[in-house]
Amino acid sequence: VSDDGGRGLVDALVRDLAPVRPLPRLRVVATGALLLWALGALAVLAAFGSRPGTAVLGAGAGASAVALGLGVSGFAAVIAALARSVPGRERDAGVAGVAAGVGLLVALGAAVLLAVAAPVAAEPAPRSADLWCLGGALLAALLPGALVAWFCGRALAHGPLAVALAAATGAAALGALGMLSGCPFLDPRHLLTGHAAAPALGAVLLTVPVLLALRALRPR
């Protein structure tokens, strides 16, 4: 009976067969996400009257570590989300997930250490700068986040919550790095609350929309 059921299912699936185009390679989508991130970050910085630069790298080892951590965690989390959506790429997803976690720890750890070691800056950033930078990071995260959500939704995301969390966190980390590259305020408190905290905020605010997108785009 079960053999009949299996053969019947095979026959039905064969009758239902229609040509499909394979999904693009992961590296192509990852490159696309980086391009969209660069475009989005440039647009947001321009809208805020700023330009990207490398001032953060000259602001000391701590600030550089925050930037490096954001970059590594953002890129690796995006790769983890993409790889976890393609059957057979779980090992890549695991490696990228670990790298994303390490990157986040580096960014947050460096920002916390800086804030603890030098709590009062000579020229502290205004509180409103935190909101601007966090908001800008989320805006800059939208384009790469949308591309990653589209790919993961069209693929076969196993554990959609983990995929959505990785995509949201990664896109927000990349957005935060974009904002950091044009931020005129590099005092320790602002590095922590305006930039290093962005991935966590992105995880809270963007995971559910990405999850809904994954469900809406899921192949049927």
């Binding site: 059921g5 299912l9 026959d11 699936l13 185009r21 790429r89 779980e90 693929a155």
Partner: protein, 171 residues
């Protein structure tokens, strides 16, 4: 698989025919329950069908199929664990008399009855509850003791198999 992605039905038939026993043995390696393994193997074939565009022709097919089979088995085990946590055995006095069946299977047209009988028990039950007894998905799922999504999947597989079996009977 690449030929199947391009729409070659013969290649797809051969591929699925070879994959079914392979997938069943993969799942059997992880589960002691043979009937559940056959159900999951059919779930895996459905997943392969709906996600065939996620296979990249330049990569090996085996890791792709193994990952889909592993994920389906893990999902099934999680569902079973949730179900065991949620349910408790009924006491004798809690078991109600069975409700009268509004459309006994004997009243179905003979070809449909034969096709229904040929389905695996789980699929037959899902189709019977939804289409013969006319229960809602939620009610049928409650009666079987599984989630509405799982019931819909079983019924969907049943419909596909029924369509195939009835097509075979047509002169």
């Amino acid at each position: 698989m690449a030929a199947a992605q391009a729409g070659d039905r013969e290649a797809y038939q051969r591929l699925l025919g070879e994959l079914l026993p392979f997938v069943t043995s993969l799942v059997r390696g992880r589960l002691a329950d043979a009937s559940a393994a056959q159900d999951i193997a059919q779930d895996v074939l459905l997943s392969i069908h709906t996600a065939r565009h996620t296979y990249r022709p330049e990569r090996d097919l085996s890791p792709w199929v193994r990952a889909i089979a592993r994920n389906a088995t893990v999902d099934w085990q999680r569902r079973q664990a949730r179900r065991r946590r949620r349910e408790r055995p009924l006491e004798d006095h809690e078991i109600a008399a069975p409700e009268p069946d509004p459309a006994p299977a004997e009243e179905l047209p003979p070809p449909l009855r034969r096709a229904l009988d040929a389905l695996p028990a789980a699929q037959r039950e899902a189709v019977h509850l939804l289409k013969v007894q006319g229960l809602s998905v939620a009610e049928a799922a409650r009666r079987v003791g599984i989630s509405p999504g799982a019931l819909k999947l079983r019924a969907h597989r049943g419909y596909l198999a029924l369509r195939s079996l009835l097509g075979r009977e047509r002169p």
